[in-house]
């Protein structure tokens, strides 16, 4: 059974039809990519999965559970975490605090424990801080744990967002253009990191523009064009798929198919 099933999803904003009959099955323990030209509707798919917007038709299920009517914070607690195309970190908080926010629902001490700083409270906070530091060290930002996030470079902010998403202990990680704005060496490091995540049993569902990155990294690829899935399969198949070449080359704006 796949981890995430998107079945017959349609979405329109007013008169603008953005998605039409989209079907995607994202398996667990694998890296799945959604590619497509700008404005194809990729980010909209993520917004639908995380519950920020409601589909006009169709259904989404996670581990067999229908997500209709489940609010976004509950979806996160079920095990879906995401990063954003235009980074949304908490700029005035420190890196450590940013990541600890991700552990919000995993810290379940009550109000009294909080007020009296009981041993249980201290222990929970300590463990949470340790885990947050561990995640920061995965993305090599632990040396800046106490700096505020707005001091970070663009690439560092992306990595912080990645660590923060992992802090929610997801089963499925949604990454919206995770390497946009990174230099090649940073890209290589993050690619390695994403593989590690997969090897630890997480599912990864990512949106990316950089075709080389996608083809090297992913186990399966789906291609979205004008709100429709035009191809789906392993990278080798996609690379040579005539409709995909047409979609990319025909638009003239992303001739990145290698």
């Amino acid at each position: 059974m796949s981890l995430l099933s998107i079945r017959g999803i349609g979405k329109h904003f007013g008169g603008l039809q953005v998605l039409e009959d989209v079907n995607i099955e994202v398996p667990g323990g694998a890296i799945f990519a959604l590619i497509g030209p700008n404005g194809a509707g990729k980010t909209t798919v993520f917004n639908l999965v995380t519950g920020l917007i409601k589909p006009s038709s169709g259904s989404i299920a996670f581990e067999g559970r229908d997500l209709a009517g489940v609010p976004p914070h509950q979806i996160t607690r079920l095990g879906i975490a995401r990063t954003f195309q235009n980074i949304r970190i908490f700029p005035d908080m420190t890196l450590l605090e940013n990541v600890m926010v991700g552990r919000h629902h995993l810290l379940n001490y009550g109000g009294l424990a909080l007020l009296f700083a009981t041993p249980a409270f201290r222990e929970a906070e300590r463990r949470s801080r340790e885990r947050a530091l561990e995640l920061l060290s995965w993305v090599k930002l632990d040396h800046k744990a106490d700096a505020t996030a707005d001091n970070l470079s663009y690439g560092e902010q992306r990595k912080l967002e990645f660590a923060r998403a992992l802090a929610t202990e997801p089963k499925l990680l949604l990454l919206d253009e995770p390497v946009a704005g990174m230099n090649p060496s940073e890209k290589a490091v993050l690619m390695e990191e994403i593989r590690n995540i997969r090897d630890r049993g997480y599912g990864v569902f990512l949106i990316e523009h950089d075709m080389r990155f996608v083809m090297n990294l992913c186990d399966r690829v789906a291609v979205l064009n004008f709100g429709r899935i035009i191809a789906e399969g392993p990278p080798d198949e996609i690379r040579t798929h005539p409709d995909v070449i047409e979609a990319y080359l025909g638009r003239g704006d992303e001739a990145e198919v290698s």
Binding site: F84, D92, E97, L115, E125, T148, T168
Partner: protein
């Protein structure tokens, strides 16, 4: 000792006022810490003041019980109006809470039980300096604990980016309601304490101007730490006394200060981050010397 007694006789009211204003500024600090620009805290103060005063005047409740009443009544109101109101954001929320504040003031002005425009007279003088000190200390401690917990981090996350906070598993609606209601509790207690040391309360004290005063104190002091609101409350309470020689122009100084702070010290007088930065710079300079 005699000098102190003299000082206390003259200035005790002023010192009490500083404490109560500090409590009010902290109540708004809490609401703001969750990103909610609310102008309802003066109304919550009024609800707390009238509830507690009526409990001691008419039902002769003991003071602690009346204080509790002064905390619970605004909390209940906040819970009721909060659920629909807090869906609004930014200026719309400010306007809605302003409208709520006006409705509350006008109701107090027109109800029989609140004594209408004359207000309530002869409230027993039960508030002592110790009450104010203890309650302020407890409130400060509680808020400091909240700041260092998942609750405080969630408030700040919501303030900085609501969507991102939501996708970190935070139930944004319930946290906003919590911040709004806890703010109402603190404002209500401040009102209850105030009512029992001024002897007399009237609807005039809980209107738009008062909401704005509370906001001014908090912003002037700065919202990056708990010290800011307390400092702001202290300054704005003492300032009019120090400026007595300016007579009618006294309030103009308040306005000027507000404008100057907003223009030149956007994070308020007390900004922990700025201080840390200054300290770091100085250390760096010292370290650089042979």
């Amino acid at each position: 000792m005699a000098a102190f007694a003299d000082f206390w006789a003259t200035y005790s009211t002023l010192v009490y006022s500083v404490g109560i204003h500090a409590l009010l500024a902290l109540s708004l600090w809490l609401t703001l810490s969750c990103g909610l620009l609310s102008l309802a805290n003066a109304a919550f103060m009024g609800i707390g003041a009238y509830t507690a005063a009526l409990l001691t005047l008419n039902l002769h409740w003991p003071f602690p019980a009346a204080l509790l009443g002064g905390a619970v009544a605004p909390a209940v109101v906040a819970l009721i109006i909060g659920a629909p109101t807090l869906r609004l954001s930014g200026v719309y929320l400010a306007m809605a809470t302003l409208a709520f504040g006006e409705v509350t003031r006008i109701l107090i002005l027109n109800l029989q039980i609140t004594g209408g425009p004359e207000g309530l007279n002869g409230i027993p003088l039960l508030t002592t300096g110790w009450h104010i000190v203890v309650i302020l200390a407890v409130a400060g401690y509680g808020l400091a604990r909240i700041r260092r917990s998942r609750l405080g981090r969630a408030f700040e996350a919501i303030r900085e980016d609501e969507v991102a906070a939501r996708l970190m598993g935070i139930n944004v609606e319930s946290h906003k309601l919590a911040a709004f209601t806890l703010g109402a509790v603190l404002a209500g207690v401040a009102g209850a304490l105030n009512a029992h040391f001024t002897f007399f309360i009237s609807p005039r004290e809980y209107g738009f101007e008062n909401a704005v005063d509370i906001l001014t104190m908090t912003i002037l002091g700065g919202t990056t730490s708990l010290i800011g609101p307390v400092l702001g409350a202290t300054i704005l309470t003492l300032l009019p006394e120090l400026m007595r020689f300016l007579h009618a122009y006294r309030l103009a100084v308040n306005g000027l200060i507000l404008v100057v702070v907003v223009l030149f010290l956007p994070t308020g007088l007390w900004d922990a981050r700025r201080f840390r930065q200054l300290l770091k710079n100085r250390r760096a300079r010292k370290g650089g010397q042979p």
